[in-house]
């Protein structure tokens, strides 16, 4: 629950008799600190949205998604020493249908961007994205590359950027925890302009390039068009 506590913690205001009655004769294991805090009432009052956000933030399912160098550090983040699971977000799911957070760990190149967009589209709402490393911010050390997309944000919206090349596992943990905080507080994902979108080939504006490819690509085939000259 977020910082303002919706339940009463002051001992003097709680009717303790019922609680005490209930607690006696029970093993200690039934009496958590949370139970004590709730006092006699088995009910709490909060906004439904707030409750749901709290649940979302406390239990996140990551997509098992390895792209490049950063995925090695991402694996270390999941594994023994750093153990992202301590924060309730360390169980990678292999299928995008079961995941709600995607960590983008690496450089996005022209051939992969449409696939990544597709994987992102397959995740159920609400979904969140952590951009890991400099490549997802700007293309990083490969920004000048002829084949490199200048940041993952060109393709999908990103909630948290973790800079570094690669970021240390601690940095990624910090980024994920920050995301959890934001999600628990119900802060929405930023809306970004996405210049590269998947669209059907026939929907592209007719120009020299499209004309040239017209006999190679079917009209209803999905394509992504890169305007490298306009990239930041």
């Amino acid at each position: 629950m977020s910082s303002d506590q919706p339940f009463i913690t002051d001992e003097s205001q709680v009717v303790t008799e019922t609680r005490d009655a209930r607690m006696t004769g029970q093993g200690d294991r039934f009496n958590s600190r949370l139970r004590e805090a709730f006092g006699s009432s088995p009910f709490i009052l909060t906004k439904f949205d707030k409750f749901l956000n709290w649940c979302r933030g406390s239990s996140m399912f990551m997509l098992q998604f390895g792209i490049a160098c950063c995925s090695i550090e991402m694996m270390h983040t999941y594994a023994v020493k750093h153990d992202l699971d301590r924060f309730g977000s360390g169980v990678p799911r292999a299928s995008p249908r079961q995941a709600d957070v995607m960590i983008v760990p690496g450089t996005i190149v022209s051939k992969f961007a449409p696939r990544m967009k597709r994987v992102y589209d397959q995740m159920p709402e609400p979904k969140f994205v952590v951009g890991m490393g400099s490549c997802t911010i700007s293309g990083g050390p490969f920004q000048e590359g002829y084949n490199v997309i200048k940041g993952a944000e060109e393709v999908i919206p990103i909630d948290i950027h973790v800079p570094g090349c690669p970021p240390r596992p601690e940095a990624l943990v910090y980024g994920v925890v920050k995301l959890q905080e934001r999600v628990a507080n119900g802060e929405a994902a930023p809306v970004t302009v996405k210049p590269y979108e998947l669209e059907e080939f026939a929907d592209l504006e007719r120009d020299e390039l499209v004309d040239k490819l017209a006999d190679q690509i079917d009209d209803d085939e999905l394509v992504m068009r890169y305007n490298f000259a306009d990239s930041p």
Partner: protein
Amino acid sequence: MSLERPDTTDDAAIERTPDELEALLGDLVVKRDDHLNAPGFVIRPDTVQETLSILKEQAGYDHLSVVSAQEYENRYESIYHLKKFDDPTQEVSVVVPADKDDPVSESAEPVFRTADWHEREAYDLIGVEYDDHPDLRRILLPETWQGHPLSMDYDKDRPQIATLPEHANPLQEHHKDDESDTMFLNIGPHHPATHGVLHLKTTLDGEQVVDVEPDIGYLHRSEEQMAQSGTYRHQIMPYPDRWDYISAGLLNEWAYARAAEDLADIEVPEYAQVIRTMGAEMCRIAAHMLALATFALDVNGDFTATFMYAINDRERVQDLLEDLTGQRLMFNYFRLGGVVWDLPEPREEFFSKTRDFLDQLPESVEEYHNLVTSNEIFQMRTIDTGILPPEVAKDYGATGPVARGSGVDYDLRRDDPYGYYDELDWDVVTEDGCDNFSRLLVRMREVEESAKIIEQCVDLLEDWPEEERNIQANVPRTLRPDDDAEIYRAVEGAKGELGIYIRSDGTDKPARFKIRSPCFSNLQTLPEMANGEYIPDVIAALGSLDIVLGEVDR
């Protein structure tokens, strides 16, 4: 000690002088174009197969390391770098110029299978076309890409279109009857078992694999262009870390350092060589640990025991490397002419930490043997699956643990010595099983050999007199190697022969920088191992190849 080569007396092993080779090739040689590492013979573009088969069959050059293509002002050029598996110091370059307006040259694929992918890459990035090639398509860039990015008139601002063929099934057209059990299955590019972004196009008959075609290029980060736009002295060194990013950084840096140092004639102080050797072997341990971890993940399918154990050991190595270099993964520790700084102070603490790690290593290797290699289920999955006969491995230019798992006794650390390896006591590991199990076993035994090397390096460093601790040679601030000098140099990376071809043009940046990636050649063998096997064996074979897509695609 197996550091000495076994005796081979047949005709192919005889070392020939460049003039004898020229005499052997006779009229095929148009002129000589010697490289710093090897004699080079210029031949006509329609005599490639003839020349290469003479060199392969009569002179014993049975290893096509790499095909590097480039464009000059007045011509295109493909260079075939040949070596011998028995003695990689015997090298020869075959230079094939092609016409500027119509760059066509004969394919070497009928002679060396490995030329298939290498020539496709040359076509994709440079634009040389190969006659007689079985399947000349783009390999790294999308099929619909316009222009060849490493050719001279490429405009990198032009718009491009990449396709996403949804549910593409090339079989649909041909297999419409209900009888047929043939189906097409896409594995990847986003799939937990492909170790990154690899796409396998598999054709299945029931559960049996009829054909598997690796589709690569999902991580093609224009590494060669990045290196070509950096200066020799400092700007290139950060990139090698990112080729094979499984913390094998120092091994990759060494590949660049070795090529550039030989090109610019820089002598590395002995003390720096010992530090390099030690750091590189730590990287090898880390890389092999991850290979083991992900292989167990692929085969046993558990994200728990083996994976966590191996990552734990990796953390220990990475801590040591962090002490040494200041970074966990992207070290940027080598400099041309040495290393960037000396061992961390206090030195004794670093040595004792390293020794602690080495002391517990045999125990954890034992643990892996208990967990993995002596596990019956694991053995059933890996023994006698993914067979790669030595002759096939050689034909595909497979190197490293993949070749050594097939009994090919080839390790550049011993056969083409560099660094401090020839002064130390260690063995080259080979296994004759040719299967998935052997390849894993080679890696696990290599970890122990690496530990032996590190231990000897630590002993040496500990006793090194203080006044002789020279970590860097005197290297000019700006390096300008001679105009038109060409060199190909390779080191034994974690995955095999990692080579660099550099051509200088008299400026402080390379005119052509070509990376020979071991994974690129190793991955090419996958169809040989997988065809006819069951689908789980494909996954096991892929895991045992231990590819890293950053290095396959570059």
